[in-house]
């Protein structure tokens, strides 16, 4: 044990944290660049092709199997929004505006972000566990030994599939939030809310509300799968390591999603999108 005072200890601890974080970000940047190179090769050179079968399997695993959960969660988000936003609008006699609020909040932010959070648990954790198990059972090394690049055969399809499916699921999610809000208006809130609900929402929403949401969804999808692949591939220490990797994947994904959402929103705000 060192006998240095607590302040020194704190500085050391903070320094170590920063170093690990930078190491992690660096590792992911390398993984992303190698992935991008394989995707580029697959598109522009005739020699390397996409592993269509692998990609399909991953898209089904990431997207199709989670569509029910995403839809369910998002309906409830719509219900919550409708119930929480109506009381503050009442003093102004603007209960009807709840539809506009649900539209903007849902399409711009809650659709993509909640979908991404669900997927970080659904897809991210399972990708990390799967790759981690493959590391532990020497499968990754075996792949390299038979001259197959693990990034090309494992990481590329997972990142592409998560990227595409997060966007597609966000489209479903956006509408589920809107539906959740409408159902609540119809059943609980009264005619001021539900009469003209869809018309007001359509008047409020611009294409850019929809598109900025999807851009963010794409960013989140890449972040989730990148973190999951990175954590999965650097598992050490057997089954326990796999468990740690899945936990880390979910925690880091959620933090990364929120930070990315904030940065995206700042950029969109600056460019008045």
């Amino acid at each position: 044990m060192d006998r240095a005072g607590i302040p020194i200890y704190l500085v050391r601890w903070a320094g170590a944290q920063v170093l690990t974080a930078l190491g992690r970000i660096g590792g992911m940047a390398i993984l992303l660049s190698v992935t991008a190179r394989w995707v580029y090769k697959a598109i522009f050179t005739p020699k390397a092709r996409f592993d269509v079968e692998g990609l399909t399997v991953q898209m089904v695993r990431v997207g199709v199997k989670s569509v029910g959960v995403v839809a369910l969660v998002q309906i409830f988000i719509g219900v919550i929004l409708a119930l929480q936003m109506t009381p503050p609008l009442e003093p102004f006699g603007q209960e009807g505006m709840v539809s506009n609020i649900i539209g903007v909040a849902g399409f711009r932010m809650l659709g993509p972000i909640i979908t991404a959070v669900v997927l970080s648990g659904f897809a991210g954790a399972s990708i990390a566990a799967e790759l981690g198990t493959m590391v532990v059972s020497e499968e990754i090394e075996a792949m390299e030994a038979i001259a197959l690049n693990p990034i090309r055969y494992l990481v590329v399809p997972r990142i592409l599939a998560t990227f595409v499916m997060t966007i597609l699921l966000t489209i479903v999610a956006d509408w589920m939030i809107a539906v959740g809000g409408w159902v609540t208006s119809r059943l609980v809130l009264g005619p001021e809310s539900y009469v003209g609900y869809w018309v007001r929402m359509r008047e409020q929403l611009r294409y850019r509300d929809f598109v900025t949401g999807l851009i963010q969804a794409g960013v989140f999808g890449i972040l989730i799968s990148l973190i999951a692949c990175h954590e999965g591939l650097k598992v050490t220490g057997g089954a326990e390591g796999v468990g740690r990797a899945t936990t880390k994947t979910v925690v880091y994904s959620i933090v990364a999603i929120v930070i990315a959402a904030c940065i995206c929103t700042m950029i969109f705000y600056a460019f008045e999108l």
Binding site: T133, M134, S137, E138, E139, E141, A142, M143, E144, A145, I146, A147, L148, N149
Partner: protein, 288 residues
Amino acid sequence: MVETQEQPVRTATPVISVVDLVKRFDSKTVLDGVTLDVFPGETMVIMGGSGCGKSTLLRHMIGSMQPNEGSVRLFGEDLVVLSEDQLNAVRKRFGILFQSGALFNSMTVGENVALPLNEHTDLDEATIDIMVRIKLELVGLREAVDLMPAEISGGMKKRAGLARAIALDPEILFYDEPSAGLDPVTSAEIDQLIMDLTGKLGVTSVVVTHEMDSAFRIADRMGMLDKGRMLKIAPRAEFEAIRDGEATGDEMTDLIRQFLRGDSEGPITDRRRETGYEEDILEMAGGP
């Protein structure tokens, strides 16, 4: 198995040549100047206790680890300086059987064996199918072609892993602890398989193991690795002589002898006992 085999004819050029290999993890030196030549057609067994660096040595020979110093040459190519593509070209010329078999769990046994053929040859489906069956027959596993890895036993996994390793007709086969975790009979079967393949396919084999029965069964030459150093490389007969002889008083020979015989008393255990027990206790008590 009593089978006195003549030493294989030593051609001038080794297929594997490891020179002064040094590997450190952080400050710990795992391999400390290992030099080793393996000649065509022979079976070289590398022995050593847990943590002596034998798996690390194997990983350098297959190009999945980079050394801090020294070089590893396969077929005359220095693995350290090769690009990814060049390294992959070398990888197609050797096969490796991992400790657990390392089958891809999402594929059937047959698909596992077919994978290298699908990815690295232009053969059509039907031909690959036949080749998969031939390879599986060689390891006695033809009936398991459609089973998933989770459905077969540890010994079968190793055979299937072996079938995959020989899919591309390699010139060198590496084995990482081929008999670890197997019962004696299955372990003997795997050893027989290794010898059969060496005979049938004429491959060079490198086997890393700490199972002495197995080592003496299959080896032409043997190397003893201890604490990252290659203590001795010699024909099997020399090691047999050390094992069956009396203690000589020579530290290194006795150390090898203890390891080969699996004795609980000897230089290895003495060394472990020597390392500063009293000092540790005193330090824990607050210093002398």
